[in-house]
Symmetry: D2
């Protein structure tokens, strides 16, 4: 109940601080007899790893995962799976100047208010580094969703105000190939180039950028999600809003639906059981309807910037702050595999929950 767990039957609990000895998670409820190796998880971690673009933190973390329990002779045993990722390149001394001052837009102030203590090194528990554990858990969840015929694809819809072309960035047609073709995971290569330029300019200015991630879930069977509070969309919204930078979540037509009329917003149903449109985003009354699930997450710009900002120190005195450290210029693209992982975990959990419901 510390808030570090998600899922009911497929349950992930993460632990670890940015500059602590390690990060990791324990996964409870993973069914037995699933093939699982460290290599399976490593592939996912490599996508999230820092140091891969000029706009990402230069911190060098191999992010090597160890499976310490729950797997025997290459198969899951049904018992808890412990995943461990050692922190290697934690240059904590670079954060010494943040010991006594609160970074605007960060959890420094709120953690201290909540706990009366904070690990200031690299953001401690509030660091984006914690998401390495989520991605590792997501790779295990994917084993379950994949077996059920489900795939999850996230990509950059907007970055720094630059939108991908809506035709190229159509959730009905966007392909993995399109997405992995550039390092910003944007299905529109021209937009990607402009986004890179915007990142360079922001970096040069000591500033940072935000963006919008879109996620499409394909192959999801109807019937997943639990009325009335653990709706599929409610759980997905919580999962995405639980990522540090996310300030808004929408499903299907989302905010645009608020401006529609009922006749327009409703998706007509065609025989034998197909939806003519997908304003619902694949979910009706909190339960999947068999159509693709479509989600969007709005990500604020990275809070840590070199540009000098007005703040206070821990004694309440005014202070000026220029955050040096090692930081990304935007959470995009590194947030992309994190979004996918969160969605994978929610889907795996609801697949297991549905097994208990179904006769």
């Amino acid at each position: 109940m510390s808030g570090s767990s998600m899922g009911v039957l497929f349950k992930v609990t993460t632990w670890g601080e940015s500059h602590g000895a390690a990060n990791g998670c324990v996964i409870e409820g993973c069914p037995p007899l699933i093939d699982l190796s460290e290599a399976d998880i490593q592939t996912a971690l490599d996508r999230r790893k820092p140091g891969q673009t000029a706009f990402a933190s230069p911190r060098r973390e191999p992010d090597t995962v160890e499976i310490l329990s729950g797997v025997f002779e290459g198969k899951t045993t049904g018992t808890p799976i412990l995943l461990l990722i050692r922190n290697r390149d934690a240059a904590s001394s670079a954060y010494d100047n943040l010991r006594d001052v609160f970074r605007p837009g960060h959890g420094d102030f709120t953690y201290l208010k909540k706990y009366g203590i904070r690990d200031h090194r690299g953001g401690g528990r509030a660091s984006g580094r914690e998401t390495v554990s989520r991605v590792a858990a997501g790779a295990v969840a994917e084993k379950i969703t994949h077996a059920a015929g489900i795939s999850v694809l996230a990509y950059t819809k907007m970055l720094g105000g630059i939108y991908a072309d809506p035709v190229l960035c159509d959730p009905d047609t966007v392909s993995v190939k399109q997405v992995v073709e550039n390092r910003l995971y944007c299905p529109d290569p021209d937009a990607a180039r402009h986004m890179e330029q915007a990142l360079e300019e922001a970096k040069a200015a000591g500033d940072s950028l935000g963006g919008i991630v879109e996620i499409v879930v394909r192959g999801c069977p109807p019937g997943l999600g639990e009325p009335v509070f653990d709706k599929m969309d409610a759980d997905l919204a919580k999962a995405l809003m639980g990522i540090g930078a996310v300030k808004g979540v929408e499903i299907g037509a989302g905010f645009a639906a608020a401006g529609m009329k009922g006749f327009e917003a409703n998706d007509p149903i065609l025989p034998p059981a197909r939806f003519f449109s997908n304003h619902a985003g694949g979910i009706l009354a909190g339960i999947t309807n068999g159509a693709d699930i479509i989600l969007r997450a709005a990500c604020k710009p990275i809070s840590s910037i070199e540009k000098e900002q007005q703040t206070i120190d821990i004694h309440g005195a005014p202070a000026k702050l220029s955050v040096k450290g090692r930081h990304d210029v935007s959470v995009i693209p590194r947030i992309i595999p994190v979004c996918e992982a969160m969605v994978q975990i929610v889907l795996a959990d609801h697949l297991l929950r549905q097994k208990a419901v179904a006769g």
Copy 2:
């Protein structure tokens, strides 16, 4: 684990179908020695009651609440509180034609896929009627938040494409008086008049409207919310997305934050511990920072419309459907007290959770 519970320490479990014998909830974890009477809860229920405007369902429900447990001589005892609201005016036969056909935009199809059975009468468990239990629970939660100096105010920001004036509808200044002055709970009286007109037109056309609700939480102390999954914003997003009509949720600057730069999005901190702006919407790293919490929920138009729609029957054959029954033209304004209730429950829960954290 049926999905009908929310909250960890202040826990609400709702039960009941639209045309069943009753609706209600059991509230666990309410602290003892709080003054609580049926009249306290009734006031909240009366705001949500159907039959109060021309655009709301003409169903006549007195919505009289009974407290069946957990209260002794006018005070809570710390044991579970059962709230019961009998259904009186359930005209189930009006729904007979919906037994064999799926209403577009509704949970009819997905409930049947999930459970293999559905109570078709008035939407069964998926009906908006279920929210009467949430509003009742919210009134109990409010006792806890009120004692902590917190207030929650929701209002109509947009309806049918008509936006309230941003100056009148400013979360920093909007007052309860402004909100209750018109029956659409819109702080801008002119906009409210246009909204009423739009509702009349939509009703005449057999159609329905959507809108945006904004919610401001004042007086919330810093330190509420749990890293890293049970963030305050994550729990609020889940709570609001768990309301039937909601398709999007944002906090603070929300989707607009995605287009900002870091220097603009960060809220500078002024001595002794005040935020110059509030793009964060009162929450940093998932923990309240003492500023107002600001939320917006996008509500799709009501799915039940008289206009004829294309659908299928339970055998997969094509069908035409014109939903007669008794329905609102928009979830606004009746969703307003529901949004407030959901937020109240989340806040009460996190207030109790923080007591366990604090030394």
Copy 3:
């Protein structure tokens, strides 16, 4: 988290006080499409009802159950089931003298210490009356266990120091017929007669008696129970120890196993997969092994006695107390259906949990 819930997937939350308006429970996670009527539940309640023997409370409660949700046209729908039992014959004024004095052996003192308030009427929430809700829930659980081929039988092994003949009271052979033949649910009719006499003598002396209940579960498939904390025996122990009067629980050989040697205690395994003996009581490493589950619960004598006792009042001053009210002389036999219900609920829950584990 108020402690009034049990079960993870088949989850029962009870509510209600002895002299409140009603008692009842909400059942979450009951699978859909199960036949369920009020008559099904009534049969179970009738076994627990007061006023049936001379040694039981003369309180006259019809204990009529109403199903208020979760059932449609005679079948469960998968949504929460609310069961309501109105309290009719609550003679609260008979308890006025208990307002200011603590009954020895009761929760009066501890509830006041915990909550700072207590409903003194008839024991409030701590009353045995609360178990009416458990028996109702157990009747629903039985639908699930019965479908899985499982039966649960509880009976009186000892009452007031009088033991049933071990041959007649052998869990391997004891039959329902034997048990229901006398009103003390004792498989040994001679012992039952002596027990009745002991009850009469205790009643005449203004005193009360304790006893031991044995429970046998037949037909349970192997594989139920979750390592390492939610072991089947751990969950059963918690369930039984959570009944007011129970002070000890043992499984299989129980305390006698502590005096055995390993060679004696181990149950040899015979082909194809049968256990030669059953000292394990049907559970190995917390997981059922397919043999009968055998449990025993030690019940203390009823605390409410007419014999004058030494106590204190709520101001800490010494007091003498003779409890009048309406009380059973022993929790046996009325605790028998309660024990069965608790076991049924645990089994139903683990049946559903195993469905999520099994491929």
Copy 4:
């Protein structure tokens, strides 16, 4: 929900197999600002360590604990604490002959039935080795209970049929000094000598012994425990019954209470708020009353014995088995710190839960 977690607010999740890479646990909900070092935990682990008596497994495990998260500069931060204990001396090949045969009295058969796979090496997840994680977590829990003035003391009441002298082994007076004076943790030194002799004889005979552990909790404030299912005694019973070898649990007078009359069993209350006797074992209606909590756990003899036993192999064919490996002759004394740890965890959890209840 895999069953490997215990506690609601102070929550411990263990992971690890006997011959896997490591064992450990994640602790959620530990309050911030508590002094915690590896040395604090090591002291507790050293008491449980194998290889310390001739009757314990000769496996050589240093059982060195690492704290990987949740502690900053020697103080807890309120975030999850990960404790890691590497397995060093896992002689797995010694277990090769157990790959295809089920050990009587063990979980081999039931794990395979449940999961369709089992890690046969050293018992896998069902091994007593898993309790190293519980003892580590118990040491953290002790920080919380100690600050509340609570102490927990467990000791050997009976081993191999030899009972400690009831005067020396009186929960009212037994001291830590008495208990640690001999390596069987028995407060009666003469009995301890006889117990050692019995262990030698059993070892020589290739057999094993059971025993009874008694636990006394001192200094516990009144008011802990939650009606009606999460009673303090119910949670303690579950915790103790969740230890592999335990087959029975009793509290206070326990099974003896079943033979008492009410006037005898009730503990008279003396001014200002003291109990004349303690048949209740410190708990009334599931809530602590301020008197000492007294518990007893019946432990079966170790299942792994050299004496040849009848069993079957995984194909259902008959087999003879003599378990070689490295095993204790009795779970006593190594189960003693495990019992203490389980009780510490339950108490720490209920202390935090009570904070949320109390105004």
